[in-house]
């Protein structure tokens, strides 16, 4: 069994309630932190090597050290619980089953940053979770972990839960701040960064739910010890939400030292491909990261074992690699259609574009239409090049990274599966009744002979 730091107590019955959480070592990290100076807590976080779990993987300690501290101006901590990246459902698990772990993390983090108000911005569709969080907040407060003069330290903190209302873009930190201010979720131009000018123009740190929960084990075992988990610059553990055509979809905590092959095929995790099928492709970090075919997933282009770490997943860059992203691990079996899958993502990004930048607003719609044509057997060969051109024109030309996130899946699909797109164009009727299959992306595990196409 892999070592766990976040879900180690998830199996304990009723751990979501204060008394049970407390009786099992809960709030001991907070106790410890409140006896330290904020500077020392920050040192522990820096030593841990923790990287943001929301998708970008930016070092958390460094981010915290950027926060501006002008006299007399409040600072804010915002917990990003917008979780809308297709394939990602790990933060939901933490909030539903371990709400006090998050609250304890928010307390330590707010103390370190000198924030007296903290907002949890949660996607509106998770409509039942605010009740769970608010109950946990009330219990934490009753027991002296929130409110005024926490544990006699003189530190005050209030945590509020705010629901979004259905907009993926509000996961982007500046759009989230706009939304918290009661506006449309239009991303802001950076700089200024939120650490200087964030919520109501005050210094603000926005962190993902999992990042903030990870602060608790870091304080429990110490930053140095935390950094011994994982591999290289991928320290600690990561929650992976696994879905698609696998035997055991769900949320898994992995130590970042296992191989992709072990993650997919071992009984401890995904339990292999469903229905005895073979692996075709995988999108390992949520819809925004490049899709990779089976032969590049389990081994890198250099033939090395691909590991579940930030570095190994991105080994080879976009030519042959992908990204850890948010940990939304989407597996496609041999029966799945790459064109159709890409189309659903293009439609998603078109639907979610805030519309501020024309390359994103127009380009995402255009990509959706062209992909729809190809998928319906009404595409032309030139459409494939057209798609390539459109995504190139979006990438890097927009205010926020949603444009890139929309471009990359299309680029990767064409890069690795161009023959499948061509097959759709050349076989308009056949492509409506059957799928392309595995072709040359043969399962490198050779569980069975490649399908004849």
């Amino acid at each position: 069994m892999g070592r766990k730091l976040l879900l180690d107590k998830a199996h304990i019955e009723n751990i979501r309630y204060y008394d049970v959480y407390r009786a099992n070592g809960g709030y001991e990290s907070a106790e410890k932190a409140l006896k330290m100076t904020p500077e020392l807590v920050l040192d522990e976080v820096k030593k841990s090597g923790l990287r943001g779990r929301g998708g970008a993987g930016f070092p958390t300690g460094m981010k915290w050290s950027f926060i501006a501290k002008p006299e007399g101006v409040p600072r804010y901590l915002v917990c990003n619980a917008d979780e809308s990246e297709p394939g990602t459902f790990k933060d939901r698990y933490l909030m539903e089953f371990l709400p006090h772990l998050l609250i304890e993390g928010l307390l330590i983090s707010s103390y370190t940053l000198g924030a007296n108000s903290c907002y949890i911005y949660i996607r509106g569709e998770y409509a039942w979770i605010p009740d769970i969080l608010e109950e946990a907040i009330a219990d934490a407060k009753k027991n002296g972990w929130l409110g005024k003069n926490i544990q006699g330290t003189g530190f005050d903190l209030e945590i509020y839960v705010q629901r979004g209302a259905g907009a993926y873009i509000c996961g982007e930190e500046t759009a989230l701040i706009e939304s918290l201010e009661g506006k449309r979720g239009n991303p802001r131009i950076k700089p200024p960064f939120p650490a200087i000018k964030g919520l109501w123009d005050c210094p603000t740190v926005v962190n993902n739910v999992e990042t903030l929960a990870a602060i608790v084990p870091i304080l429990r075992i110490g930053g140095e010890e935390y950094a011994k988990y994982g591999t290289g610059k991928s320290t600690g553990t990561k929650l992976i939400s696994a879905c698609g055509n696998i035997n055991k979809p769900g949320v898994y905590e992995i130590e970042m030292n296992i191989s992709v092959e072990e993650f997919i095929y071992s009984e401890e995790y995904c339990g292999g491909i469903a229905n005895g099928k073979r692996l075709k492709a995988c999108i390992p970090g949520g819809s925004s990261v490049p899709i990779v075919p089976a032969n590049l997933l389990l081994k890198t282009a250099k033939g090395e074992t691909r590991m579940m770490t930030y570095e190994s997943l991105s080994d080879g860059g976009f030519a042959t690699g992908t990204m850890m992203g948010s940990g939304g691990f989407i597996v496609l079996d041999e029966d799945q259609c790459i064109v159709k899958n890409t189309l659903t993502f293009a439609r998603f990004y078109h639907h979610e574009s805030c519309g501020q930048c024309s390359p994103c607003r127009e380009g995402t719609g255009w990509m959706e239409r062209v992909l729809k044509n190809i998928e319906k057997g009404k595409g032309k060969m030139s459409d494939i090049d057209l798609l390539w051109d459109i995504q190139r024109k979006i990438e890097g030309n927009t205010i926020c990274p949603l444009g890139d996130a929309a471009a990359w899946p299309v680029a990767a699909a064409i890069r690795h599966f161009r023959d499948e797109f061509e097959w759709h164009v050349l076989n308009p009727e056949e492509s409506q009744v059957r799928n392309f299959g595995l072709a040359h992306y043969a399962d490198p595990l050779e569980i069975a002979a490649p399908a004849a196409v």
């Binding site: 907002y119 993926y168 009661g182 698609g244 055509n245 439609r347």
Partner: protein, 161 residues
């Protein structure tokens, strides 16, 4: 108009923000209003919300129309919001949508004649590992099959009576 209890809730929400930042309460108050006034936001409702938060009506309209959870026109009593993004598609969400269409004799975006059911397709709801799925009111219905859909429709019909 909100009840006394709802007005207190609005006050409580506004108190979460610093003085003068009551506009931040807009999304939570729109959620309350939609629940209270028939599952959608009429111009009247939005004007009322504007007056409660002392902001202009246009500030409410532009926000309400931006977010997909706010309904700008009336919907059925039960709204089936079926996810059809990649991970759900990989596990057969298209079949579920087709099944509901046939069963209720409506297309996506339509409401049954008795005003009971609306069918919508939505983008990823964060339940990809429990696909196919839909949102029904406050909760998710996961691991959908035609049989599960039948049960849910029956359950709604019973509750509606």
């Amino acid at each position: 108009m909100f009840s006394e209890a709802k007005l207190n809730k609005v006050k409580e929400i506004i108190a979460r923000y610093p003085q003068g930042k009551q506009k931040s309460a807009l999304l939570p108050v729109l959620h309350l209003a939609q629940e209270e006034f028939g599952g959608w936001l009429s111009a009247e409702t939005m004007d009322y919300v504007a007056s409660l938060l002392q902001i202009t009506p246009i500030e409410v309209y532009e926000v309400a129309t931006f977010y997909s959870m706010f309904n700008m026109k009336p919907v059925g009593k039960y709204v089936f919001e079926v996810c059809h993004t990649g991970p759900c598609m990989l596990r057969g969400s298209d079949n579920i949508v087709d099944y509901i269409k046939k069963k209720l004799d409506i297309n996506v975006g339509e409401t049954t004649k008795d005003g009971l059911f609306t069918l919508k397709t939505v983008e990823c709801l964060g339940a990809c590992g429990y696909a196919p799925m839909m949102q029904l009111g406050k909760h998710f219905r996961e691991h959908l099959t035609p049989e599960r859909v039948d049960e849910i429709i029956n359950e709604c019909r019973v509750n509606a009576n």
